[in-house]
Amino acid sequence: GAGVSQSPRYKVAKRGQDVALRCDPISGHVSLFWYQQALGQGPEFLTYFQNEAQLDKSGLPSDRFFAERPEGSVSTLKIQRTQQEDSAVYLCASSLLPPGTSGSYNEQFFGPGTRLTVL
């Protein structure tokens, strides 16, 4: 398909387990974002990649959260020693160009999200 895909769509983890969430952005998209959406809330920014470089990780809530995009395409968000407060939907978005490239806003295209439940 041509859109952003995420896997798994649903993940149940026991508290203390490590999880890895995958994002496949639209082919050729330079920018990639991760957002966390708690139940009943709006998405909140976690981190941003431009190609393989993680340029902003200011939204990551703790050092248990780690994201990578080693080849500038697929990205993985890893959460170590999961806790109940990590339960949320994790959304990935990609955009074609780096910010400011075209002089106008570069649209972010969102994936369907991964719903993480920590028991």
Binding site: G42, P43, F45, Q50, S95, P99, G100, F109
Partner: protein, 115 residues
């Protein structure tokens, strides 16, 4: 810092009624972008509209319209003649014209259209 406030949480309307969603934002940027997204039960965020800060012209796109008032930092959104398929959560969002274009979202409005 960017902040978006959506006051109402759940709004119920009868089909064919109009529904208006309020959004108030805060930013120190002189150039910024405002958005409305729809999130149906499937969970995917669907882009609806975008305005930039230097264009306050209000427009209509199909059944959607918006009222951007820079003086009151508001970006309200109206669905005209609502349909059952409009039932979803609607988010207002803001992005500054700096850094990485990260989006700041409001808490969302749950719209329920009753047939």
């Amino acid at each position: 810092a960017q902040k978006v406030t959506q006051a109402q949480t759940e709004i119920s309307v009868v089909e064919k009624e109009d529904v208006t969603l309020d959004c108030v934002y805060e930013t120190r940027d002189t150039t910024y972008y405002l958005f409305w997204y729809k999130q149906p039960p499937s969970g995917e965020l669907v882009f609806l509209i975008r305005r930039n800060s230097f264009d306050e012209q209000n427009e209509i796109s199909g059944r959607y319209s918006w009222n951007f008032q820079k003086s009151t930092s508001s970006f309200n959104f109206t669905i005209t003649a609502s349909q059952v398929v409009d039932s979803a959560v609607y988010f207002c969002a803001l992005s500054g014209d700096y850094g990485n274009n990260r989006l700041a979202f409001g808490k969302g409005n749950q719209v329920v259209v009753i047939p």
